[in-house]
Symmetry: C2
Subunit: 380 residues, 2 copies
């Protein structure tokens, strides 16, 4: 076998495990490579005996099935779907919303034999890292941009340049790519209408990030015009479809602590000694609408801290429909969105894309679920 002088074994000292190939198995079984391939793939006719002989030979050699790399090259498919997450995983995954969507996506793709490759997105504000090796050259059949695309998305551009088909979740529609979205705007309007129906007129808003600038603070008209994330834009619009909020506060991420600090700013006033206490009940907002449940949870904690009773002194509502048992005994009033379903739909869109079907837009329904955190506006 090693009759060739000058073998191509450069320095592989402790690597005796040159895995056997299909050819070796075929040789041992006394059949051709093509027949051996048939034995494994099951495509095409083959006698049970021949098949058994091949399988026996495989077992004897310790061959555990066709090398995926060879198969992939031949078929032109890698079986891998790239999922673009934020540049920091820890950030993207701290939000249960993201995790649940991803869970649905991974399950659906897994059922179809597709794997998920985590791709750190290219931060649009960092041109130095404009070439991410994974985005630029990882093998993937489709890429999923789960959390939308900005107006000037470097990752999207790179993928399109490479010719990788793209599926987008929750965001701006892009020519020729499937989109899976939810009815943010209508859902947000629903919950705000619920508040208005309860008599609330001074509604404060805790907003999702408007872009990826990590800013936080009050949103004025000028800032409002700069919004560059579709979900945020939709929810801002949904609120304003019903009422003009008396105050609106931008947060840097959908996390409990940011909801808390935003709400302290909206409902509290800083005393001379630096401590924060509840603001004047006559002017203070009577309801807080948060763009997410995590922010709403923070709002709830802030209200408790300020000594405000929920919902007697202030009503709090969120968006997402997360299960937050540690808020007990309170149950958030929230707009429930089908998170796992959103992931599944993304997965199905990927599969349709691979099948060559023409891209479609899917829009999922949401549902207002009233909990214990909203009630009639205080009469004072």
């Amino acid at each position: 076998m090693s009759d060739t002088p000058g073998n191509r074994e450069p320095a592989a000292a402790a690597a005796p495990a040159h895995r056997p190939t299909l050819a070796k198995v075929a040789e041992l079984a006394g059949v051709s490579v093509s027949t051996a391939s048939l034995a494994f793939s099951g495509a095409g006719p083959i006698t049970p005996e021949t098949r058994a002989r091949v399988l026996d030979a495989a077992k004897e050699l310790g061959y555990t099935g066709p090398n995926p790399l060879g198969r992939q090259l031949r078929s032109g498919r890698s079986g891998v779907v790239g999922v673009v997450v934020g540049d920091q995983l820890r950030r993207a995954f701290r939000d249960p919303v993201a995790v649940q969507v991803l869970d649905g996506l991974v399950s659906t793709l897994g059922e179809n034999g597709l794997g998920v490759l985590l791709i750190p997105g290219i931060p649009s504000d960092d041109p130095a890292r404009a070439v991410d090796p994974l985005v630029e050259s990882a093998a993937m059949d489709v890429a999923v941009l789960v959390w939308g695309v900005g107006s000037d998305d470097a990752t999207l551009a790179a993928l399109q340049r490479r010719g990788v088909p793209v599926v987008i979740g929750e965001g701006r529609a892009v020519e020729g790519t499937p989109l899976v979205a939810i009815r943010d705007r209508a859902g947000t309007a629903d919950v705000v209408r619920h508040l208005v129906d309860l008599g609330h007129t001074r509604v404060a808003e805790v907003s999702l990030p408007l872009d990826n600038s990590d800013r936080s603070g009050p949103i004025d008209a000028q800032r409002l015009a700069q919004v560059d994330r579709t979900p945020t834009a939709n929810r801002l619009a949904g609120v304003r479809d019903v009422v003009e909020p008396v105050a609106s506060w931008e947060t840097e991420a959908s996390l409990v602590e940011h909801g808390r600090s935003a709400t302290l700013a909206l409902l509290g006033s800083t005393a001379a000694d630096g401590t924060t206490e509840a603001a004047d009940p006559a002017t203070r907002p009577t309801a807080v609408i948060a763009h997410s449940d995590l922010l709403a949870a923070g709002a709830l904690l802030a209200a408790r801290e300020l000594g405000l009773r929920v919902p007697d002194d202030v009503s709090v509502a969120g968006f997402d429909g997360l299960d937050l048992p540690w808020l007990a005994p309170d149950v958030l009033t929230s707009v429930h969105q089908p998170l796992a379903r959103k992931g599944s739909e993304l997965g199905l869109a990927v599969i349709r894309q691979l099948a060559g079907e023409t891209p479609t837009t899917v829009e999922l329904d949401v549902e207002l679920v009233v909990g214990t955190t909203t009630g009639p506006a205080p009469t004072t």
Copy 2:
């Protein structure tokens, strides 16, 4: 070019985008394929003009670089690291501990041009799903079992059968595979010693799951013998190195709500009307040691619910060192472990494994950080 009659174009109607190959580029540039390859890879000598000519030709054809599949087959490397997560992502990623480790892992691997493929593990209690397509046949250079391996791990077995090198985090050491662990046992002993030093003698324990049976309830000696997860075993042992807990409660997952219910059971007693109130201060545990911060957070909430002051009536300590700002104003006493570092070390172990180095075991240090939730045992 298409002088061959009977082209191999079966039914690719709307797919004109047969991506150009290196051969086509070489042809247009008037050079050989090998030279064109050199122009892209940069390996080997090449005149700047030739290189430019190739690159121009590539641009003209819309060729965006070598097809990863071809390169992978040739090199025998896929550049992909499989990371085995629980069968349900949503479950694995609800724990910030997991997410932070994964974040460190993804960063480190990303810096080395390696991608992370999410692999749902094979549930050991479900023989029907004993063949996961991804575990069985996805292309990966190394697999990482981040959360340890059980005594009879189907996923590990499948990977070993395939000959995929494995790296293990936090668990039982396996012959010939690198391991990255932390000093659970010593760290746990440290925090328990801290409690004992404060005068606590009646210490209750809220334990991580002992196996993947989803059981919850008190742990007796018999159950204690069945533990099949190394981190849990280590922490149980660490506690017992210092004190014998007056009560120990198994949870089904490291989540706030389970910590809460366990603690209600440990510190409360159910009244005749079905409500739970604090048990007799004379016999009630004065300290709760939880195996994780999420469980400890639940314990804290439960204590508050029972009307117990922390740390005056009861001390609470955890493990992990998570940042839990929504527990404010409390700050958990906890054993901090370097989570991102653990991920990085796993990544480095992967890289060493790929470089053919011999597997080593890395054990990371932990540090007790005293917060506001532990204090002297009540004198009554």
